[in-house]
């Protein structure tokens, strides 16, 4: 089993929003999807998932409704709202900017410092 890393603070919300950008899903699907896309590298505790979903719903970034699954059971489906999409876009932007900047610093060789 590969070594797992804890998610950095505040990034769980970002990941969740990103997955919802592909279309409405229910909580369990999110959990499995998260696991797959992060290739088992990042540890997403399932227990934190639901509080995060509810928090995003309350902030109006996600909307939820009850619907039937393929197997005919009722499940709570979440989808991204317009507000959620714009928040996602700006968050992704700033995340990328930040990581690029950090990468730049980390790759700095001693001679470049002056």
């Amino acid at each position: 089993m590969a070594e797992k890393t804890d998610l950095p603070q505040g990034t769980l919300d970002l990941l969740i929003l990103k997955i919802f950008a592909l279309g409405p899903v229910h909580g369990y699907a999110i959990a499995t999807r998260l696991q797959q896309v992060s290739r088992d590298v990042v540890q997403v505790p399932q227990g934190s998932l639901y509080p995060a979903l509810h928090r995003l719903e309350n902030r109006g970034l996600l909307a939820a409704e009850w619907d039937q699954t393929d197997t005919g059971r009722e499940a709570k489906f979440y989808r991204l709202t317009r507000k959620g999409r714009s928040v996602l876009d700006s968050e992704v932007d700033s995340w990328l900017r930040l990581t690029q900047a950090i990468e730049l610093i980390l790759r700095l060789s001693p001679g470049d410092a002056s």
Binding site: H26, G27, Y28, A31, T32, P45, Q46, G47, S48, Y50, P51, A52, H54, R55, E57, N58, W66, R73, E74, A75, K76
Partner: protein
């Protein structure tokens, strides 16, 4: 869904949450079973992956943001149950708080109504008064009428109006009564921005000499005499013998230094003071125009002052005009007293809070086990603290609600008890300001006495607490002592303040007022209007008044005077010892009384030298005056004053001869006279007042009679006797001299009473605190005492232990309180006339009172400790 919707839908949300999580686990289980796991094991692993269903649920609830509401309701319910379960504790705490909060609310209601509320006029913050500042006497005068006219004409940034005291005998048919009045300039209503409730205000052409005789009556008089009938407008009334036409009714809210029933145009006043640029009698109110600022207004007044100073150097040298907010002016010197009293009752509330905190703390210690149990079941420390604070908050609110009820009942009687006139008394009301204040105080006190027990909510060492049961007192003992020490310190402040006032009263009531105040009745007199036709008639009428008064049974002597010692009102005259006086602002001013010869024997003034005024002093004889020893000392130091001459501008260009010196009279009141600015006194004879001034003097004279019987008894016979052949002379504002002297100390007495009560309550509460805490601590120490006794300590040794503990608290508290008392003493000295420095004896006395009371409170617990049975105590331990 917004917060509010989430709060209302929380049941539905709860079941949806369950359903969602169930779906998650089922789905996960299915997947695992598909992967080849045994169904039971699959479910176990699915649950495990979720990480504790209860915890996830909790965190989802937290995410909703409505959690605390449920908690709060739960806590409040629990708190209510707790209170109901311990009714004795609940009642004690609530009543203590209700008394404290009630008292503070009453004081705050008065402070709010008098000091904080804006005056009842539109944009009242732009209203100011204008006065004259003189170099010698400071900013305490009104403005002379000629100066007012100039200011009114020149000022661009202010609209101004003036008023002065008036009044007279109002007759309608056979009915006549004395009414208070005000002379007002035509713009007064528009400056205040109030409209007459009926009719109109004065026109500019009515506000000058020779204008039509018109009068505005008060709303109250309109009600009383005309039953609010509009027919009153344009109907005639007779004021002091002159027929007037009513043109309007003033609104009840318009108040010019107290109530007045009639308003007449100031410009029609024909007395000489209207033309005297040095007679600063007019009260000037001004409204700063909308486009101007008060800085501009002040600058403009300064410019006008300079302009008038150079135009009229004789009268205006050294005089300048100042402006001051009308609110501050109407509130006057009660401000300091009100804040003082509010501070005093706040201290009492603090002590009450500390006592309740003590009670709560004692309970918190015995509930430690309960809290430990909650904590071990997963309650966080914050959660436990919140619960404690909810309980104390509930207590605070209950006490506050009861307190506001008490305040609503007592605020009116309290205002009536206020000594003298409390300005704006009619505006004092239990309004939203007061309710907000009471709510704030309730919550703050709830927090204050709840925080210490709440901080004890267990965080660690749960297991130990649980095992130890309810016995450990731990650090609570130090907290308890801290509480008692702060209570004692607060009580010391109040005790010393009350003691200082008590001493002041004691000293002042033995002060010699300078006259014999026993058996003297004083009263203002309004001559019958028919007697006001000519100076000769007026002189005859005054003789008649004296004759009738003298023939009244019980009256030994009667005299007239325009001013009465220790009653409101004054007449200041500038005097000099040579015909060429210095500039106007450096002329010394003496309090001048215009009297008849009998005044000496009625008041029993001590005659120091020469003679008093007598019947030989007439218009055609040499003008004479009698001066008091203070003036004699100022004007003729080390000389014989009798036979010297004084030049008094107001009495004419010629000099007057001093024929006698009498003792000083404490005109400004027993307490205030020492600090007064105008202490020189002059007496001059009514018989030498020139004819042209007789009308003016006749409107201000009072009578004083010395009686053989209690003076109040002669007031009715006197009143009857003055209904003479030439018409009814009316007596009004009849007071005994003793009342006036007592009234001059009313403020000190009132403060002393209230502070005394506060101090008493504070002392009682502090003693209850000492008693309660010692009883509690002693009961906690019983096992220890048992051990000590088993090892050979005697009962008195144990008793000594308890007493030493109490003494330590008393001494520390007193020392801490003394620092506060020093501050309070300085405050008292600055704000109450006649209060002197804090004396050591006062402090010693008050500390002794505290120590003895504290000692008594200690005795019962100490005895109980001494009676501890060693074997019993050890077995319990």
């Amino acid at each position: 869904m917004n917060w509010w919707q989430r709060l209302r839908a929380r049941r539905a949300l709860e079941s949806q949450l369950q359903k969602e999580l169930r779906f998650h686990v089922d789905q996960h289980t299915n997947d695992l079973v598909t992967g080849g796991l045994d169904p039971v094991e699959a479910r176990r692993q699915a649950e495990l992956a979720l990480g504790g269903r209860a915890l996830v649920e909790e965190r989802c609830r937290d995410a909703r943001g409505t959690r605390w509401v449920d908690d709060f309701v739960q806590d409040a319910r629990l708190a209510a149950r707790q209170l109901l379960k311990h009714p004795a504790f609940a009642i004690t705490a609530i009543v203590t708080l209700a008394l404290g909060i009630g008292a503070t609310t009453v004081m705050f209601t008065v402070v709010s109504g008098v000091l904080l509320k804006p005056l009842p006029y539109p944009e009242s913050e732009r209203l100011t008064i204008i006065g004259t500042h003189t170099d010698k006497y400071g900013s305490r005068w009104g403005v002379s009428y000629p100066n007012f006219v100039d200011i009114e004409r020149q000022a661009q940034s202010l609209t101004t109006a003036a008023w002065s005291y008036g009044g007279g005998t109002l007759s309608r048919g056979d009915d006549s009564e004395y009414v208070n009045g005000r002379e007002i300039s035509s713009k007064l209503f528009s400056v205040f921005r109030v409209a007459p409730v009926a009719g109109r205000s004065f026109l500019a052409e009515e506000d000058r000499p020779g204008g039509a005789p018109v009068v505005i009556i008060s709303d109250d008089l309109w009600q009383r005499m005309y039953n609010r009938n509009r027919a009153a407008i344009d109907s005639p009334v007779v004021l002091d013998g002159t027929p007037y036409t009513i043109v309007g009714v003033a609104p009840a809210g318009l108040r010019l230094d107290g109530d007045a029933s009639v308003f007449t145009p100031l410009g029609q006043d024909s007395t000489p003071r209207m033309r005297n640029r040095q007679a600063n009698f007019a009260h000037v109110v001004a409204r700063i125009r909308d486009e101007a600022t008060s800085a501009e207004a002040r600058a403009e007044l300064a410019t006008i002052s300079r302009r008038l100073e150079s135009a009229y150097p004789d009268a205006n040298t050294g005089a300048s005009f100042f402006e001051r907010s009308l609110l501050q002016e109407s509130v006057g010197d009660v401000q300091a007293m009100l804040w003082l009293l509010l501070a005093a009752v706040s201290l009492v509330v603090l002590i009450a809070c500390v006592n309740v905190a003590n009670l709560l703390l004692a309970r918190a210690v015995s509930r430690e086990r309960e809290f430990a149990m909650r904590a071990s079941l997963g309650a966080s420390r914050g959660r436990l603290m919140r619960q404690c604070l909810t309980e104390s908050g509930l207590l605070g609110l209950l006490g506050g609600a009861l307190g506001v009820g008490l305040a609503a009942i007592t605020v009116r009687p309290f205002v009536l008890l206020w000594p003298g006139n409390l300005p704006r008394a009619q505006e004092i009301d239990l309004d939203w300001r007061v309710l907000a204040f009471a709510l704030g105080v309730s919550l703050a006190s709830g927090f204050l006495f709840g925080i210490a027990p709440a901080l004890r909510a267990p965080s660690r060492a749960l297991e130990q607490t649980l095992r130890r049961g309810a016995r450990g007192a731990g650090g609570a003992a130090r907290l308890h002592s801290g509480f008692v020490i702060s209570e004692i310190a607060l009580a010391v402040i109040l005790l010393v303040a009350a003691g200082m006032l008590g001493r002041t009263m004691l000293r002042l009531s033995s002060v010699d007022p300078g006259i014999d105040i026993k058996n003297v009745l004083t009263s203002r007199v309004a001559l019958a209007p028919s007697a006001l036709q000519s100076p000769a008639q007026m002189r005859a009428a005054w003789q008649e008044v004296l004759r009738h008064a003298n023939s009244t049974p019980g009256v030994r002597a009667a005299a007239l005077s325009d001013i009465i010692p220790m009653r409101v009102g004054l007449n200041g005259l500038g005097y000099w010892t040579s015909p060429t006086p210095p500039p106007a602002n450096q002329v010394p001013i003496a309090l001048a009384s215009c009297v008849t010869p009998e005044y000496l024997s009625v008041m029993r003034l001590p005659l120091r030298a020469g003679r008093f005024l007598d019947d030989h002093d007439r218009l055609d004889t040499e003008p004479v005056v009698v001066i008091d020893e203070v003036l004699a000392q100022h004007a003729f130091p080390q000389q014989n004053a009798v036979g010297q001459h004084l030049w008094i501008q107001a009495l004419g260009k010629e000099s007057v001869r001093v024929v006698g010196v009498v003792g000083h009279v404490r005109h400004w009141g027993l307490a205030s006279d020492d600090g007064a600015q105008m202490r020189d006194q002059i007496y001059y004879p009514l018989s030498q007042v020139p004819d042209r001034l007789m009308r003016l003097f006749s409107s201000v004279m009072s009578m004083a009679v010395r009686t053989d019987v209690p003076p109040a008894n002669v007031s009715e016979p006197l009143r009857r006797n003055l209904r003479t052949a030439s018409g009814a002379h009316v007596l009004y504002q009849t007071r005994t001299m003793e009342d006036l002297a007592g009234g001059s100390l009313a403020r000190q007495r009132f403060l002393m009473t209230l502070l005394g009560i506060s101090a008493g309550v504070a002392l009682l509460l502090a003693c209850i605190g000492i008693y309660g805490v010692l009883s509690y601590l002693t009961s906690q120490r019983i096992p220890e005492f048992g051990v000590r006794m088993a090892l050979g300590a005697t009962a008195s040794d144990v008793m000594r232990l308890v007493v030493r503990q109490s003494l330590g608290m008393l001494v520390t508290g007193t020392l801490v309180g003394m620092a506060g008392a020093l501050g309070a003493a300085r405050l008292l000295q600055a704000s109450v006339d006649g209060v002197q420095r804090m004396e050591l004896s006062t402090v010693v006395c008050m500390t002794a009172v505290l120590m003895v009371s504290g000692w008594i409170a200690t005795l019962v617990p100490a005895r109980r400790a001494a009676r501890v049975d060693a074997v019993e105590a050890l077995r319990e331990a």
